[in-house]
């Protein structure tokens, strides 16, 4: 709508003035509602909300969209799923299992897979979406961590986000347990063993959850209501608060020209951001549809119904449970024994991830306490500028990575023909040795990158041109980024944003070609832009100073 107005203006026409007379039916409806519930101002400011643009900001969006897709597909699945452990003889389409005794939960999952038209793709999209949901949350969290987006005033949202990640993992695991197939039943058995290992209350707790000795007849029904009502309800409420807080506190942004602690620079919700976000939802959905259609996941009919005396080789949980499985695999046979009581090894094993998770949840408060940094932060940090935090993050990632890999160490041992016992020992040693090494290496890399940034600012970009001085000395010519002082040293200060490092990637206001295979149009140089003085002096071709990642403007021939 505003297109036409600005178009008219740019073409030199007179701007259209609102016509007198009756408003359109849609506008009339809007007026009617506003007379009863004045929403005009609030809606306007919502539509005017500014979203900063950076690729990493869409990770949280992926999580949100996967969750919506989970709700949609999950609701469909409930039409057919029967959360009962009552025993039936299978009589459906899948002939290899006919006549076999199984629970109604397993039989109805087979029904969804074979006797509901399009039920299998719905189930597979649901499962893929669950994997993506947790993965997107985790990566989003890493982004927030490494850029310092959790700092004051956003600690609350970090807490909510951490809770969402944990709930997502629990929700996923419970869903994985519903079909009552051999794989999920084995997972439940292990979970029961871990619950049972809790000192003092373990047995009571396990009996409370399972309604008696494992497996009992109640767990699928209980898990079902948790999976479809209680946990998704809590997740939904927390997502609402999470997004409301982002709306009130506004987005963080990376440092760059014009970007300060007191503004947000980007695009408004309407129309650009809204169109992009809607499109992106469809893209996420489309990718999940392709995954669900083309890549088989959790083929429960191949596993068979759960039976405590059977297990399939290579029993693996979904990826997000891999770390928990990894730690119980690696933990040595250390059991605490008293004459009348026992603290099983599994209890000590799960304390390790518990400690890490608690540390993660309270990290913002710990960092604030230790750095005594109590200021408001709306500008993000580059990971290299905070080597300690980045090092801690890498340390955590390596720790987690070793655990996830160990969760599948039997598969690795099998595929790469390594001794299983060696894999266990590699995991045990790696878990202790790798994180500190990772910390040290990351710390050094961060410092190195910082120094290089400052060197480029002081001496300029390495041009690759070697010059021989009259004295015979060879030197490389450096192209200064901005004005230099009497010693030839650059005067630009580091501003927390990327520094151009290569001849063809600086300039920022550079020219970009339009056209994929051949140029359709040559771009003019934009006339005015809020670039930093020094960076404007150099008209390179190419795009980024990070500060103006999308300022390479496009236009048609002139």
């Amino acid at each position: 709508m505003t297109d036409t107005a600005s178009r008219a203006r740019q073409r030199g026409g007179t701007p259209p003035v609102r016509r007198k007379g009756k408003p359109s039916p849609l506008a009339q409806a809007g007026i009617e509602v506003d007379e009863r519930l004045p929403y005009a101002k609030g809606t306007r400011s919502l539509l005017n909300k500014v979203f900063p643009d950076h690729w990493s900001f869409m990770l949280g969006e992926i999580a949100l969209y996967s969750f919506i897709i989970l709700l949609l597909t999950g609701t469909y699945l409930t039409f057919f799923f029967d959360a009962s452990m009552g025993e039936v003889k299978y009589n459906g389409s899948y002939t290899p299992l006919r006549g076999i005794d199984m629970s109604q939960a397993y039989a109805s999952t087979l029904k969804i897979s074979f006797d509901v038209r399009g039920g299998l793709i719905m189930r597979q999209i649901h499962h893929w979406a669950a994997l993506l949901f947790v993965a997107a949350m985790l990566v989003h969290m890493l982004r927030v961590f490494f850029t310092g987006a959790f700092r004051k005033p956003r600690e609350t949202n970090w807490l909510i986000g951490s809770t969402l990640l944990m709930l997502g993992i629990v929700e996923g695991f419970i869903g994985y347990g519903l079909p009552d197939d051999l794989l999920s039943g084995t997972g439940l058995r292990i979970t029961e063993g871990i619950i049972q290992s809790t000192p003092i209350v373990g047995t009571w707790l396990a009996f409370l959850i399972f309604g008696g000795e494992f497996p009992g007849t109640e767990i699928v029904g209980r898990f079902y209501i948790l999976h479809v009502l209680l946990i998704p309800g809590i997740i939904l409420a927390l997502i609402a608060v999470h997004i409301a807080l982002v709306t009130v506190q506004k987005h963080t942004q990376f440092p760059g020209p014009g970007r300060t602690e007191n503004n947000v620079i980007g695009e408004r919700a309407l129309p650009t951001y809204g169109a992009k976000a809607t499109g992106f939802f469809m893209i996420v959905f489309g990718v999940l549809a392709l995954l669900g259609g083309l890549f088989q996941i959790n083929p429960i009919w191949l596993y068979g119904p759960y039976n405590p005396s059977q297990v399939s080789a290579g029993s693996q949980p979904d990826w997000y449970f891999g770390a928990f499985d990894g730690i119980v695999r690696l933990w040595p046979a250390w059991e605490t024994r008293f004459p009348d009581y026992t603290i099983p090894a599994a209890f000590w094993a799960v304390q390790i991830p518990t400690i890490v998770i608690v540390g993660m949840i309270f990290y913002p408060m710990i960092e604030r306490k230790l750095t005594k940094d109590n200021a408001h932060h709306n500008l993000l940090q580059r990971p290299r500028d905070v080597p300690v935090r980045t090092g801690i993050g890498v340390m955590g990632l390596l720790f987690y990575g070793v655990l996830v890999a160990s969760g599948g160490n039997d598969v690795i041992a099998d595929k790469f023909d390594i001794s299983l016992n060696a894999m266990t020992w590699i995991g045990r040693i790696g878990l202790i040795v790798l994180p500190p090494i990772g910390y040290w290496v990351t710390y050094r890399i961060c410092l190195g990158l910082q120094m290089h940034d400052r060197e480029v600012l002081e001496h300029g970009i390495e041009t690759g041109i070697i010059k021989r001085l009259p004295s015979g000395e060879f030197i490389e010519v450096h192209q200064p980024l901005g004005p230099v002082d009497s010693h030839g040293h650059g005067q630009l200060q580091y501003a927390g944003s990327p520094v151009p490092k290569k001849m063809n990637t600086f300039g920022g206001v550079g020219r970009r070609m339009i056209g994929f295979f051949r140029p359709v149009a040559e771009l003019p140089r934009p006339a005015e832009h809020g670039e930093a003085e020094g960076q404007r002096e150099l008209a390179g071709s190419g795009s980024t100073t990070g500060s103006s990642s999308d300022s390479g403007t496009e236009s048609s021939e002139h």
Binding site: S93, R189, G279
Partner: protein, 346 residues
């Protein structure tokens, strides 16, 4: 949230404003400054613009094609499972996935491309008014709260506070009773005993009892108690192993007479976290749990030799009845499966 500094225009001024001017005025009022805004194609109708428009349109048409194809395939492609998959049912789900994916990606990519290529490019600065509330707001709000609390008399009336605290505390505690109470199941030694008992036959999954002549040396059979529910309980599965004649079996203390000839019966439930320890390696006489890779040595009476398991697999005392079938001489003499707090350590 937003309080722009611009004063509102008079009704007359508002009447005279164009739509775009109103939009800009509104954004200023919201503290949102549109510092840069331009058409992607200031000159309409250029080749580049038409090309961009065609790209977006072709993506939307892809959605049309995908959606039609989905509906057609949903009806046409056979979807019922048939053994041997000679009717092409296995294509049903992948084809639906491709059609649905194309449909959604078409509209999604189209919308993103539309925004990136055709909608006006803009750079917008929104003011951020962070920080705490004003001193006035804080003090008056604080005063309102404190005054309200003081007015209730909570500070002065100790009797009320204490009795209320007592009542609310008891109420909170009470609320736990109906919630947790119904769920509690008192463990009555279920973990210490199984369905095995004196004289119970060892049967296989299909119900056939086992005779000493049935198994080759070095082989293993999974057996269950011949009792109702014995095959689905989590603690009864047992491995009946016939040792090869050339091996030396070292029984645990107190379990010397549990075997029958060269047959030994060990619990199949892993003492780590309860998976069935299924992988029996004949050559080494070791049993591996596929869940967490605990390894047990059969010749050392199920002793754990690697991995996280801390306890040997319990041994079931067996013998042969009058008809020549294996029977249990008693239940396991220790709890089967993962350990727990109340487990005794004699």
């Amino acid at each position: 949230m937003n309080d722009g500094s611009a004063s509102e225009p008079t009704p007359e001024e508002l009447e005279a404003m164009s739509r775009e001017e109103k939009m800009l005025s509104g954004s200023e009022a919201d503290g949102v400054h549109i510092v840069h805004r331009r058409e992607r194609f200031p000159v309409p109708g250029t080749r580049a613009e038409k090309r961009a428009e065609r790209q977006v349109a072709s993506l939307f048409l892809l959605t049309f094609v995908g959606a039609i194809a989905f509906m057609v395939c949903y009806i046409v492609v056979p979807w019922r499972f048939k053994l041997g998959d000679n009717n092409g049912y296995k294509w049903f789900t992948p084809v639906l996935g491709i059609c649905l994916g194309v449909t959604l990606l078409g509209i999604g990519c189209g919308a993103v491309l539309w925004a990136k290529k055709l909608m006006p490019e803009e750079e917008v600065v929104q003011e951020r008014h962070d920080g705490p509330s004003t001193e006035y707001d804080r003090q008056t709000t604080g005063a309102t709260i404190v005054q309200g609390v003081v007015d209730t008399g909570i500070g002065r009336r100790k009797l009320l506070t204490r009795s209320l605290g007592l009542g609310a505390g008891a109420f909170g505690l009470m609320a736990l009773f109906p919630i947790i109470g119904g769920l509690i199941r008192k463990p009555r030694g279920e973990l210490d005993s199984t369905a095995w008992a004196k004289g119970v036959r060892l049967v296989q999954l299909d119900g056939t009892p086992v005779r000493p002549g049935d198994m080759e040396p070095g082989s293993l059979a999974t057996v269950f108690p011949n009792t109702p529910g014995g095959k689905t309980a989590s603690d009864t599965p047992t491995m009946l192993i016939r040792l090869r004649p050339d091996v030396k079996f070292v029984p645990r203390k107190g379990q010397e007479g549990f075997r029958w000839g060269d047959y030994v019966a060990l619990s199949k439930i892993c003492t780590h976290l309860g998976c069935p320890v299924s992988l029996y390696e004949q050559q080494t006489n070791r049993i591996l749990c596929p869940c967490h890779q605990s390894q047990f040595d059969v010749l050392q009476d199920g002793k754990p030799v690697f991995g996280p398991a801390t306890r040997p697999l319990p041994q079931l005392p067996i013998t042969v009845d009058n008809e020549g079938y294996f029977i249990a001489r008693s239940d396991y003499i220790e709890p089967v499966g993962p350990a727990f707090w109340e487990r005794k350590n004699p």
